[in-house]
């Protein structure tokens, strides 16, 4: 679904921002400012950070926590017409930027990925909220600067604060696949989902007056296809798979007192697809066999749970987000040798603490500040890299690295294949939706059940209007008639 439509020009369902940097919208992760997500009240119970139901209704006429357009950016286009209509002149014509909001010429002051690749240097990057408690160690000098890219889509959280913030009840999480959607017909434009989402991944379409968000390309997911952002990722770094979880344990997991325990709590909500008891319970719930099979082969279960090398973005927001990130191994900084460390390509462990990207930064992003968690993941990844290097480059079989990583050599190599070879069928294990019954129901919607080939017709009913709140809208020409088709073929033959 594209966002170049009127009303969504400023919207990016999927954006890739530079870290360190301000992000999109600017400083989105600073919840002191935006008050998104959940927090615990004095009695340790979960509540929305922006306030409860009564406060929401009382502030409905002006949402105090809503970012303004300038926090995203004012979208613009160029006056391309000038380039072809300008009169003959000594000087080249210039296409000036025009605001897509007001139509007026504008001075572009900020835009999408304005600070990409540390552009603007210290001025912009240092305003990154993740740097707040590590300013001392971070120098924006060329020798010590670091950057990596952070792709962001909707997290499709287990405990979505946007859904909880919507007064109209227009937002919902789908029971079958956990995708979080906005019912466009029931949305009344109260805007609390926009401010309630700590990732700022619900957007207000100012033309339609309705909220919109990443749909995880559900029509593709239902057909067993990966999302567009995954399919088109040239780096092949996106993985899609399903995990089984116990929805009744979500609230307790999101309520653990220490934010650094949230990662473990969230992992404990997931169910082991190899466990016979889990399989039996899933079958009893009516989860189809091919879904259970897909759960066993899920790359997400491997990365996030079985191997534990993927971490959730900002677990401290307590939404139990479901887009997980494998933290990047980065080059060792040049100052190492000055620290008395001798560069040895196989001594990966000493190097973890000297990576170009500070562990504290990654920990602020992915582990509620818990550096040990990040260190553990990077350690495991470094072991994998060293193990494969020994095997492939030096021709040595060395089981000790796998031991260090706490895995078997076979598992370590399987992890390598998934991360480095990243075959299409390994990255995306997406079972098709079981819509057999639902589809039949949909086709009959608005008919009297007599509208089939050779039947008595549609009983004089008006044409069925597709239910626009339904995820499955019949496509025009979908119900072609085989008989018509065959008779046409006959004509062509004759």
């Amino acid at each position: 679904m594209w966002t170049n439509r009127p009303g969504t020009e400023y919207v990016w369902f999927n954006n890739v921002e530079t870290a360190p940097g301000q992000g999109y919208p600017r400083r989105w992760s600073d919840q002191e400012r935006w008050r998104g997500g959940w927090e615990l009240d004095r009695r340790g119970r979960l509540r929305l950070r922006a306030g409860g139901r009564v406060k929401k209704l009382l502030t409905i006429f002006s949402n105090p926590d809503l970012p303004s357009l300038d926090d995203f950016y004012e979208p613009w286009t160029y006056d391309y017409e000038t380039l072809v209509t300008a009169p003959l002149s000594d000087r080249d014509p210039v296409a000036r930027p025009h605001s897509q909001i007001t139509g007026q010429p504008m001075d572009v002051q900020w835009g999408p990925n304005w600070d990409e690749g540390l552009a603007g240097g210290p001025e912009h990057a240092i305003a990154d909220p993740h740097l707040a408690d590590i300013q001392e160690q971070v120098r924006m000098t060329y020798e010590q600067a670091f950057l990596f890219f952070l792709p962001r889509i909707c997290e499709h959280c287990l405990n979505p604060s946007c859904v909880a913030s919507c007064p109209s009840g227009a937002m919902y999480k789908r029971e079958e696949d956990g995708i979080v959607l906005v019912d466009q017909d029931r949305c009344r434009g109260w805007r609390f989902c926009v401010s309630g989402c700590p990732y700022k991944k619900v957007y207000f379409n100012h033309r339609t007056g309705k909220a919109e968000k990443c749909t995880l390309c559900y029509p593709r997911i239902e057909m067993g296809q990966p999302t567009i952002c995954s399919e088109t990722c040239v780096g092949r770094i996106r993985y899609l798979g399903l995990v089984l979880y116990d929805a009744d344990r979500v609230e307790a997991a999101a309520s653990v007192p220490d934010p650094q325990d949230l990662l473990g709590a969230q992992r404990s909500v997931f169910l082991d697809p190899e466990d016979p008891a889990v399989q039996a319970a899933a079958r009893a719930e009516g989860i189809p066999g091919d879904w259970l099979d897909a759960a066993r082969r899920s790359p997400v279960y491997d990365l996030a749970i079985r191997w534990g090398v993927a971490l959730p973005l900002h677990p401290e927001f307590r939404t139990l987000p479901m887009v997980w990130y494998v933290p990047p191994l980065s080059p060792v900084v040049g100052t190492l040798e000055a620290d008395g460390y001798e560069a040895d390509p196989d001594d990966v462990f000493g190097a973890i603490d000297h990576l170009r990207i500070p562990l504290e930064y990654l920990a602020n992003l992915l582990a509620a500040g818990d550096v040990e968690v990040v260190r553990g993941v990077l350690h495991r990844l470094a072991c994998m890299r060293a193990h494969m290097r020994k095997r492939e480059v030096l021709g040595e079989e060395d089981g000790s690295l796998a031991q260090h990583a706490g895995m078997t050599a076979a598992e370590l190599e399987r992890m390598y294949r998934l991360l480095a070879i990243a075959n299409y069928e390994d990255r995306y294990v997406i079972p098709q939706a079981h819509a057999e019954l639902g589809e039949r129901l949909m086709q009959q919607q608005g008919t009297c059940g007599l509208d089939f080939a050779g039947g008595p017709g549609n009983c004089g009913a008006v044409e069925a209007r597709p239910d626009t709140s339904s995820p499955v809208v019949p496509v025009e020409g979908e119900d072609f008639h085989l008989v018509d088709l065959l008779s046409r073929e006959e004509h062509r033959g004759a």
């Binding site: 929305l48 139901r53 009564v54 929401k56 209704l57 502030t59 409905i60 006429f61 002006s62 949402n63 105090p64 809503l66 303004s68 357009l69 909001i101 007001t102 139509g103 007026q104 405990n159 979505p160 859904v163 909880a164 007064p167 109209s168 009840g169 937002m171 919902y172 999480k173 789908r174 029971e175 079958e176 466009q184 017909d185 029931r186 949305c187 009344r188 434009g189 109260w190 805007r191 207000f204 100012h206 339609t208 007056g209 309705k210 929805a247 009516g286 939706a433 819509a435 019954l437 639902g438 129901l441 949909m442 626009t468 709140s469 995820p471 499955v472």
Partner: protein
């Protein structure tokens, strides 16, 4: 009773009521997607921050005042022992506060819409019509509350005239006599109000019916099945 009076005090109100009812039925059936508050907070938040709540809370209080003034007959307040003077001061002071808050908020919103290019561009022709009617209604309303009730020695008794006619419409026995000699300001206010109600279902004012009170008694996280009937 002249033809003009029948038109103004009987036909026009009933046409407006019919348009209001049928318009809402039609809009609700066919235009759920267009049913929205039409917020422009994304474009401008500073003025809206005070003007939006002031206008809405003032308007809601004014609606409450109208409910009391129009729907509760004088005989009822007298029966419960409320003197004319008590009622007058209650309605005048409460009405003046609500009117003042509403006017301040409304002025802020109009200023914001007129001066902020981003907001101005979103203004539709229906919005302009609504704004025009609101200017007239709020202006006359405040004139009546301040000029004919709060700041006068001889307050105008609308409960025996305009209110009686308004109630009579709903029991299908329009009492034109009660209104035809009423104070002109009250008459104009009433007629413009019927135009306002007729326009209501076709404007973004419909978001008023969507005050999400059900939120107060709802679980936070909602789940939906893709095919509700598939099980």
């Amino acid at each position: 009773m002249s033809a003009g009076e029948v038109l103004l005090w009987i036909i026009f109100p009933y046409v407006a009521i019919a348009t209001f009812l049928v318009g809402h039925w039609w809009r609700y059936r066919t235009d759920q997607f267009g049913w929205t508050s039409g917020s422009t907070q994304l474009f401008e938040r500073k003025i809206l921050g005070w003007a939006g709540p002031a206008f809405h809370y003032g308007a809601l209080a004014a609606v409450g005042g109208h409910v009391i003034g129009l729907m509760i007959p004088k005989s009822f307040t007298e029966a419960v022992g409320m003197s004319e003077s008590t009622y007058r001061w209650f309605s005048a002071i409460a009405g003046a506060v609500a009117g003042a808050v509403c006017v301040v908020g409304f002025a802020g919103l109009v200023y914001r819409r007129a001066t902020n290019a981003r907001v101005r561009r979103t203004t539709s022709r229906t919005d302009l019509a609504v704004y025009f009617l609101l200017v007239v209604l709020i202006g006359l309303g405040c004139w009546m509350t301040f000029g004919h009730n709060l700041l006068t020695k001889s307050p105008y008794d609308y409960r025996d005239s305009v209110s009686a006619w308004w109630r009579s419409l709903f029991i299908l026995q329009p009492d034109v006599d009660a209104v035809q000699d009423a104070n002109t300001v009250y008459q104009v206010h009433a007629i413009v109000a019927w135009a306002f109600w007729a326009l209501f279902p076709f404007s973004r004012l419909v978001h008023a019916w969507s005050i999400p009170l059900q939120y107060l008694g709802r679980p936070y996280v909602l789940y939906r099945r893709r095919y509700a009937a598939s099980r």
